[in-house]
Structure formats: structure tokens, C-alpha cells
Amino acid sequence: MAIYKGDYPADKQMPTLPAEIIIPALGEAFKKLNPLSLWRNPVMLIVEAGALLITLLIIKNLLTGQVDTIGFNLQIAIWLWITVWFANLAEAVAEGRGKAQAAELRKTRSSVIAKKMTGSIVTEIAASALRKGDLVKVEANDIIPGDGEVVEGIASVDESAITGESAPVIRESGGDHSSVTGGTRVLSDWIIVRITADPGETFLDRMIHLVEAAKRQKTPNEIALTILLLGLSIIFLIVVVSLESFAVYSDAQVSIPVLVALLVCLVPTTIGGLLSAIGIAGMDRLFKRNVLAMSGRAVEAAGDVDVLLLDKTGTITLGNRMATEFVPAAGVEAERLADAAQLSSLADETPEGRSIVVLAKTQYGLRERDILELKARFVPFSAHTRMSGVTLEGREIWKGAVDAIETYLQSQGRMLSPEIKNIANGMAKNGATPLVVVENLEALGVINLKDVVKGGIKERFAQLRRMGIKTIMITGDNPLTAAAIAAEAGVDDFLAEATPEAKLKLIREHQAQGHLVAMTGDGTNDAPALAQADVGVAMNSGTQAAKEASNMVDLDSNPTKLIEVVETGKQLLMTRGSLTTFSIANDVAKYFAIIPAIFVETYPQLGILNVMGLATPQSAVLSAVIFNALIIIALIPLALRGVAYRPLGAEAILKRNLFIYGLGGLLIPFMGIKIIDLLLVIVGIA
């Protein structure tokens, strides 16, 4: 899969937890202890309420002079506060990574001067004073003052501030490369830009907002999970409240701190504490891959996508067709064909044209010639004739598609030989594009122009198939060509001769069957389909309309990245599910630690439930509480990084995660609590 490594710049490398993020997060986690900011997280709110209750109890006991249990209660209280603080820390660290990135972005925004045009007069004003519809001139070395469309001119632009990609890109008026982003720098030439966003609403502003998680809202799945966790918490609250009554019935003394400790151990604090961090980290991981998601909802939807619409060009094939072969007609020398083909393509600046020149040189040693020296006159491709050609010293060479050449010959009273047609049809069947070359009304032969499928892409599609994702290739080619490339690339289906309407229809059809569809696009005519798709990824190089219609923007403008987007979405859900399973499985061990501890003094028979052989009732309760707190901090890196994703079928993934997080979640706390208990005994705390 090596080829993909180069497809996008390496992740904006940042160690998972650098000190400059950790240190401010430590303080931030304290601020988050405020119940007003904690109310969104019911599980941790319960823990905090418990911690507060015990703290108040300690104060009351101090005031009334009942000091015999204070040491134990104090330890419980401290560990409960630490539990909440750890959970806050997880969120603060996740947010901190976003903030660090936002700060980088902000640097590029400060104090830009815009050259506003009123008629032909240019006045210099602050970028923040620009409004939608204003025209500004941007010259070499200027920073583009706001998002907009190029209305005049062409310039090379350094977009590294946004994309991290150092190679400059060309932006010009008209077409699909007219959109520019505020904060990027013009390197050469000049452009006139019509501003399309008011200050505060620019792409850069939105990016800063998004990476700061300032506008973060809970996603649908996160809400559903929160409901389940809240339901479990209420059940455990009832369990603990009723236990108090059963204990009274059974003449057993259970102190409030112990009951609170049991409650905290039972409510799903692990997932409750990490849930928010998982969501933030998911968006952050996409951002590190240079994809900007407009909402967490979109990232989540990406995990559910089961149909991918992929543009053929640039995603499945290496961008442009390449000449791979010259097939001469009977009785024509191959070199003569190559010579004619090269001559006709010398002035042809299209990639196809260049590839013909190069092939003639590499296969037949024909040097490139200067078109001016030859006094040749180049006739560019026109929609009318659908041919291009060259005339020089009595030679008239044309090249074009079979039917175009046939029409041309017929208009000159000649016929295209069946032999040439056969060759051309054979090539078309194999997914190539045949170009017939004619010199002075004599068909010399056919150039084989072929789409070159990217290496490794077939395996990638096979992986997607195993994951249950269907790939559909979108191409403007005719069905014959499309079928051949589709077969070579291993996609499941294709849409040939695709028009924007056909794309939209295809998406709607799949959605009507219940599928979730993802696609990439860059042109204005892609906008309706991008808006219709469940996950629409616009290329940053694309038009403003395309970006507005999508819910993600790929800053690298690399269509293949759609696959990574889907993987990130899946990883997000998997991390949530795995940690939920882990959290619930943990409870079994905690019961075996705390229940015998509570009742063993009244009913020594229940000591048999102390399967871990914990030293004393106090150390058992403390060990469970400490384990419960430490497991949060231990799992922060996993929450930020996400559960390892492998492109396998659902069953295989489930087996793997069940083994690690289900069985592991059942067994690890037994060991962890036992070890903590041993340490407590050694230290002599309990």
C-alpha cells in the first residue's frame, strides 16, 4: 500500500501528549470541576456529588469530633475527586490538542491589510473591514484577506498555512480552481478576488472554531449512548439505595462513604469520563489527516457509510490517460506512425498529448522537435471537428476518435478501413481510448491511450468489500471503457457517462434502499450531489459552492482520502463501544471486592465472595475506588488514539474487540484491584 503514503503529506506529526498540551490541561481540568460545566456528563456529575457528600461528612465529623473513621473517609473522598479530575483531564487534553492547532491557524490571520477596489481605485483597509461582495486585489507576497472567488487573473498560491502542503497551487478565474482561502499567500502574479464571506465566517474562522471544539454538540450516537449510561447509573443508584435498606434489615452497618464508593465503582465512570474526549479526538484525527469535518455528526455518519462514490480520475487511475502503444495499419511502418503522432502532438499541452510525445521518444528514439522551426501550424482540438492536428510542408496530420476521423474521411470522399476500426474497437474493449492518426487522408494506425490504474488500489477495494462497503466508480467515459477500467480496478459497480444529474440520481437510489453514501467532488456541478450524499467531501481546491455543499473539506484535495475518512468514523464508534463494554465488564470484579467487604463483619460467611483475598474491608473498598480512578487515566491515550482499526468483516472485528475489551474488562480489574490492595498493605495505608 506504499503508494498511499505519498498521497497526502504525513500527518501533522504531534506526539499524542506533548507537555505544552498536558500542562494547561491540568489546570483546565480543575476548572471543569464546576458542576455547571459538568452537567452535560451525568455519570461524572454523580461521582462529583458523591465526592462532595463525603467531603461534607468529613467536615461535619471534624466539627463534632468523631474522628475514628476520618482517615479512611478522607482517602475515599480524595480518590473520588481525583476520579472526576481525571475525567476532566481527558477532555481537557483532547480539547487542548485542538486549541494548539487553532493557535497555529490564528497566527496567519492577524492584521492583514486588504487592497479594496472601488472601480479602479485601490484603497488599503483592514481585512476585518471587508464584507461579502467586496473586490480586492492581491499581488505577489500579499496574504489573501478573506475567502473568495478569483474573478480576474491567475496566480500561484501558497496554501501551506491551511493544508500543510508546501507546493504552491494555481488559482485562476473561471472553472473549478477559482476559490481562494483567507490566510493563504500569493507567491507570484496577481488576482482580483470577490470576497464571499464576512469576517468571522470565513473558512479559517470556521476551522478555528471546529478544532477548538467550541461549537461541539453531542452526536446522535453519543446521545443514545449517554442515555444508556444514564439508565445504568440510575439502576446502580437504586441498587445502592436499596442496599442501605437491606443492610439495615440484616443488622449490618454500612457507612455512607462506603455506599458512595460502591456507587462510584458501579456507575460506568470509565466510558462516562472518556466519552467526550473520544468524540473530540475523532474529529482531531481527521484533522491530522488534513480533513476538516464540519460536524461530529458527519464523522459519525462516515463510519456508517456503505457505498463510496469515487471519481475515476485521480482516485482510481493516475489522473490522465497515457499513450502506451502505437498500432500501425497493415503496410505502415510503426516508426512512421510514431513520427506522425509525435508531430501532431508537439503543441498539444494536454497530458495525453505530452504522453504521446514521450512514448514516441522512448520507443522509437524520436527527438522532440521545435514546432516553430518546422514552420508547422498547429490546429488545436475543437468541439466542432473533435480532432486536433498539424500542417507542415505539404503534410496534413490529424488525430482523433474513431468516429471523428471517420466523419472527416467521409467528408473527403474516403473510407476508414475496417482493419483500423477493428484495432480501435479492440482497444476500447480493454478500457483504453483509441486515437486514429491520419496523414494526408491515409489512416496510419491507432494510438492506444490508456488509463493507468493506481498500484495497490485493487487490494484496497477488496478490503473495503470485506468491510461491507460497496465502491462505485464515477466516470465520464463510455460504458465500454468504464467497464474495462472497473474490472481492472476491482470496483463493484460503475456509473459511465456520468452527468451531475445522474450522480444525484444514483445517490438517491442508494439512499432509498437504506444505504449511506459518501462521495468526493470539487466542481460547482458536484454541489447538489455533495449535499445529497450522507458524507460529502469537497476538495479544498474546489469551488466555494462545492465546499458549502459538503460536510467535510479535504485540505489536500486528495479524493482517495475518502477511505481514511470512513475508517476514522468507524474507529470513533468502535472506541466508544469497546470502552463501554470494558466499563460494564469491570463492575463484576468491583462487586466481588466491595460486597464481601461491606458485610463480612456481620456475616463472616460472605467472606467466601472475597475471591481476590483482599486484605481488609477498608483496603478492598479503597483498592476498588483507586482502580476505578486510575483506569481512566490509563485509558486516555487509547481514547485519544482510538481503538486499532483493521479492515476486516464485522464478525472478525467483533471477536477481536470482545476478546480484548469484554474478556479483558472482566479479568483486568481482578488483577488490578489485587495489586493495588497489595501495595496498600505494603505502604501501610490500610
Partner: protein, 565 residues
């Protein structure tokens, strides 16, 4: 532990499974409105009922309308039975001159029979007139069972229909449940029971001369007709106080076997009905298997503990079955242990032995089966919709682990479904724990306890679990006919019934409105062995986490005290 005993349990399960499959298919046809062999007999009858009640049988109902009709119908049934008990003294068919029932007991009894529970804080032969038994108890036995089946069918429709706002017609589902399923099978079963010696008459109680030469009063009544639906509708309310331990209710080993079969056959068939109606038989089979495996484990543990008896006796040289207190000699250990799991796995509650006298662990299993929410086969209808709540929870958690929004039968499980399913699990758990906690902590609660200590706690837990689970069996040992228990347990009955029915109908409504996504390699299978295993584990873990502390202080502690001597 005898091989012959285990063979008996296995034989029972084989017969049960063999009957459940065709019955499930038949019920699917009934609920899908297909033609059946009872059409000629029942269609005119059903049409008449619809005409009299003004029901438009072709009308489809949304979930709110369906739930509304259900509530109105249940309220009417409750009022009827409540008033009937209060005025039975002046009504006919009362040869024993039974007086009006006290209001709190009448209230508790009316709610109990309306909710398909048949918790009885009274002795039938000493409290109720024949008229009340026939027009009150027996009628509710039919319609409360039909109510549960209707809810299950509405949920099946919700899960299997696509982009549909409606779940069927409650009145039609209710009527057809009675006329096509409950009534025909009960009729046949009642005749077989009569042939075995179950009584069916309206005579006054008979006084007979016993072998000891002393006179004894024998209670009479129309028992067989009520006995059949008592089992088949998982109602469990005995005509006599001794329930199916009474020779006039359950005279022979054959009736014992048939009655056990009747209890489980509809709950065991409903998963297959679900399979047929969803067009994927494997879905139903998976749920059936999960129920079967849980049942086998439960009956195995109970049988093992009862067969082992109290080890203290063995030490003192007693051989043979020692745990015979509270068991009928004609049924023995295995048929008592099996019946106790049958009746508590389903929400029946009929008993042929006293669970109170079981060994602590042997008695804990029936208790725990009720705590799980009566979904190991469960009540008629309620078992399936209860288990489907667990299916949805299971899928939600494990579905996330494969990186997709979890989906069941192609439908996404989202916030609304999770809210409702969580309620359906939370409400019964709260009812059991908070009810028991209140009883254990108040003098009016503890005053009714016969045995102090852990066994008393088991008695309280059992009462609230039995009522919340709409089971109705009693642990004995607890005097439940007090104002405190009549009212507290009435609340538990209602919470356990409608606290599950309403959320699950809401799930049916929201799932029915969704479109369905075709299954692919990225979706988890809900019909393979792994899923069956996961479902079982989820049921056990949720049940264990919720009730472990209570069980530890009740039966587990008692067991350890017993083992310790």
C-alpha cells in the same frame, strides 16, 4: 442426581421445542391475517364481536393509538373484576355464600389478574364465588394473555415493517389471539384435564369421611376450564389456594407434564412467530436458543440443588431425597424443580410445590428468573418483547464495537429506542429493589415475615420480583394480605406490566417508521451462535449487576449459613 431425572427434563424440552415450531408458524399466520382452518368456525363469531363493539377491523393504528386502546381495555377489565368482587355476595353461582372481598384485596386481585400476574393474596376456595371465578378470573386469564400477545405482535410488526406509521389493530390482535389460539387450545386441554380427574362442576363443597373416620370438606367448582387457561396464558392463578399442588387441579403425572407444556408452549413458539413474520426464520431461532440455553442452565441448577438437599442431613446419615418439605410426593424432586423453573422462567406463577421450602440456591433460581424480567421464554407475549429489549441493548453495545451505528433487522438503533429500552429495563428493576427496600426498612413490611434473617429478605424480594415480573407465584412465608402489601404490590404489578409495555410499544412505533438497510459484511449477524452467546451474557450480566447485592444478603448468605451448619 439421577439419569432418569435428567432424561425427563430433556424429554420435556424436546417435546416443547417440537410443538413450539409449528405453533409459532400457525400464530404468524393468525397475526398476518392469513386463511386458516378455524375461519369457518370463528370468522362469523369475530365479525359479530367487531360489530357489537363498533370496531373497524381494517383500521390500522399508530403506536399511541394502539397503546391507548390497550390501556382503555385493561382499565375496563380491571374495573369489572374489582366491582365483581365487591358485589359477589348478591350475585348467583355462590353456593358457599362468599361475602364481598375487602377493597384493598379486591384492588390488588383485580390489578393482578388484569396484568397477567395472578398474584393471589387470598385462597381461592375460601374467598371467591364460582361466578367471580368464572366471569372474572377466567375471563381476565384469557384477555390479559391476549393483551401480552398483542403487544409482542405489534413489536414484531414495528421491527419488520418499513416506513410504516402503523402497527396493526389492537382489537383485532386481541380478538384473534383469543379465538384462534387461546380458546381452541384451552378447550382441548380442559377436556384432557377432566379425563384425568380435574373437577368441573358447580356443586356446593362436599363433606366426606376420611380414612381416619373424620369428616373433611372438599372444595368444588369449575376448575378444569380455568386450569387450562391458567397454564396456557401464563396466568398461574389457582382456583384453589394450593394451586397445581392440589389434586383437583393437577391430579396425575400426565396432567403435570401437560400443564408444564401448556405454560411454556406459547412463549416458546413466539420467537418462531417472530422469525416467520420477519421473513428470516434464523432471527427467531436465535432468540429461542438463547431462551432455551438460559432455561436449561436454570433448571439444571435448581434440580442439582434440590437433589443434593441439605448436606447437614447427609452428614447425619440420612439417604435419599432430603429436600422434600413443601413438595408433593407424587411429583418428587425432579418434577417439582422443573416446574418451579418452568413457572418462573415464564411469568406463569402456578406452583406444584412451595418454593419457600427449596434449598436457598434452589429457590434463588426461580427468584432470579423473575428478576431478569421474565424473558427466559417469559409470559405469553411479554417474554418476547422483554427479550427483544435485551436484544436491542446487546446490539447497541456490541454493534458499536464493529464501528457502525448499531442496527437490528436493518434498522438503526438511535437515541429514542435506547431511551425506551432503558426505561423498559430500569422501571422493573426499580420496582423490585425500591419496593423490597421499602418493605425491608418499614415495620409494616417486616411484620408480615414468617422467617427472620436472610430467608425473610428472600421472601420480600420474591414477592416484589413476582409481582413486578407479573409472575404471581408466592414464596410463601410472607403474609401478603395486608394493606401495606396489597397496595405496594399493586404498584409493583402496574410498574412491571405497563412500565415495559408502553416503552416497548414506543420502540415498535419508532422502529416501524424507519427504513431498513440491507445487511452486508459490515453488519453484525443477529442469528449466529456468537450473537446468541452475547445475548445470554447480556441478560445474565445486567441481571447480576442489578441484583447481586440483594441476592448476596438473601439466598446466597442463607446457603452459606446452611452449608456452615
Amino acid at each position: 442426581m439421577k439419569t432418569i431425572d435428567i432424561m425427563q427434563i430433556l424429554f420435556f424440552l424436546v417435546v416443547l421445542s417440537t410443538l413450539a415450531i409449528p405453533l409459532g408458524r400457525y400464530m404468524a399466520r393468525v397475526y398476518m391475517g392469513e386463511k386458516g382452518f378455524l375461519d369457518r368456525l370463528m370468522l362469523p363469531f369475530e365479525k359479530l364481536i367487531y360489530r357489537i363493539c363498533g370496531v373497524n377491523e381494517t383500521e390500522e393504528m399508530g403506536w399511541r393509538q394502539y397503546a391507548g386502546a390497550l390501556l382503555i381495555f385493561n382499565l375496563a377489565g380491571f374495573l369489572l373484576l374489582f366491582i365483581l368482587q365487591l358485589i359477589q355476595g348478591v350475585l348467583p353461582f355462590n353456593p358457599q355464600k362468599m361475602a364481598a372481598v375487602k377493597w384493598d384485596l379486591a384492588l390488588n386481585t383485580a390489578i393482578s389478574f388484569m396484568t397477567n400476574t395472578n398474584w393471589q393474596a387470598y385462597g381461592g376456595e375460601s374467598t371467591m364465588s364460582y361466578f367471580t371465578q368464572m366471569t372474572g378470573m377466567t375471563v381476565q386469564n384469557f384477555v390479559s394473555a391476549a393483551t401480552g400477545m398483542a403487544v409482542a405482535v405489534a413489536l414484531i410488526r414495528g421491527l419488520t415493517r418499513r416506513n410504516s406509521k402503523t402497527l396493526g389493530n389492537f382489537w383485532v390482535d386481541l380478538t384473534r389471539s383469543v379465538t384462534r389460539i387461546l380458546l381452541p387450545i384451552s378447550f382441548v386441554l380442559a377436556l384432557v384435564l377432566v379425563s384425568q380427574g380435574v373437577i368441573q362442576n358447580l356443586h356446593p363443597y362436599q363433606t366426606v369421611q376420611t380414612l381416619e373416620g373424620k369428616p373433611q370438606v372438599l372444595a368444588m367448582g369449575p376448575v378444569a376450564s380455568q386450569e387450562a387457561i391458567k397454564e396456557l396464558g401464563t396466568n398461574g392463578g389457582g382456583f384453589m389456594n394450593a394451586n397445581s399442588a392440589h389434586p383437583f387441579e393437577n391430579p396425575t403425572p400426565l396432567t403435570n407434564f401437560l400443564e408444564m407444556l401448556a405454560i411454556l408452549v406459547i412463549p416458546a413458539a413466539l420467537p418462531f412467530t417472530f422469525g416467520h413474520m420477519s421473513g428470516d426464520k434464523r432471527q427467531g431461532r436465535a432468540i429461542f436458543l438463547a431462551m432455551l440455553i438460559l432455561f436449561m442452565a436454570a433448571s439444571g441448577i435448581t434440580y442439582y440443588n434440590e437433589a443434593a438437599g441439605n448436606p447437614q442431613l447427609a452428614i447425619r446419615g440420612v439417604t435419599g431425597p432430603t429436600a422434600m418439605e413443601g413438595k408433593e410426593v407424587r411429583f418428587g424432586i425432579v418434577n417439582s424443580a422443573l416446574w418451579s423453573t418452568v413457572t418462573t422462567a415464564s411469568s406463569c406463577g402456578a406452583v406444584n410445590s412451595m418454593h419457600d421450602s427449596f434449598t436457598p440456591l434452589g429457590g434463588m433460581i426461580p427468584l432470579w428468573l423473575m428478576m431478569l424480567g421474565e424473558n427466559v421464554f417469559g409470559g405469553v407475549g411479554s417474554g418476547l418483547y422483554g427479550m427483544l429489549a435485551f436484544v436491542i441493548i446487546t446490539i447497541f453495545i456490541v454493534g458499536l464495537m464493529v464501528g457502525r451505528t448499531p442496527e437490528y433487522l436493518g434498522k438503526k438503533i438511535e437515541a429514542r429506542e435506547m431511551k425506551m429500552v432503558t426505561l423498559a429495563i430500569l422501571i422493573p428493576a426499580a420496582s423490585i429493589l425500591l419496593g423490597s427496600a421499602t418493605a425491608a426498612a418499614t415495620p409494616s413490611g417486616t411484620a408480615s415475615i414468617l422467617n427472620p434473617g436472610p430467608h425473610g429478605l428472600s421472601e420480600i424480594l420474591y414477592a416484589f420480583s413476582s409481582c413486578t415480573g407479573n409472575n404471581g407465584s408466592a414464596f410463601a412465608g410472607l403474609n401478603a394480605n395486608t394493606l401495606f402489601y396489597n397496595l405496594m404490590l399493586s404498584a409493583a404489578l402496574l410498574a412491571g406490566r405497563f412500565g415495559v409495555i408502553l416503552p416497548m410499544l414506543a420502540v415498535a412505533g419508532s422502529m416501524g417508521a424507519k427504513s431498513s438497510i440491507p445487511a452486508g459484511a459490515g453488519t453484525i449477524s443477529t442469528h449466529n451462535s456468537m450473537f446468541v452467546g452475547l445475548l445470554i451474557v447480556t441478560v445474565i450480566i445486567v441481571g447480576a449487576l442489578t441484583f447481586f447485592p440483594a441476592l448476596a444478603l438473601g439466598p446466597l448468605l442463607e446457603q452459606m449459613i446452611m452449608l456452615g451448619g
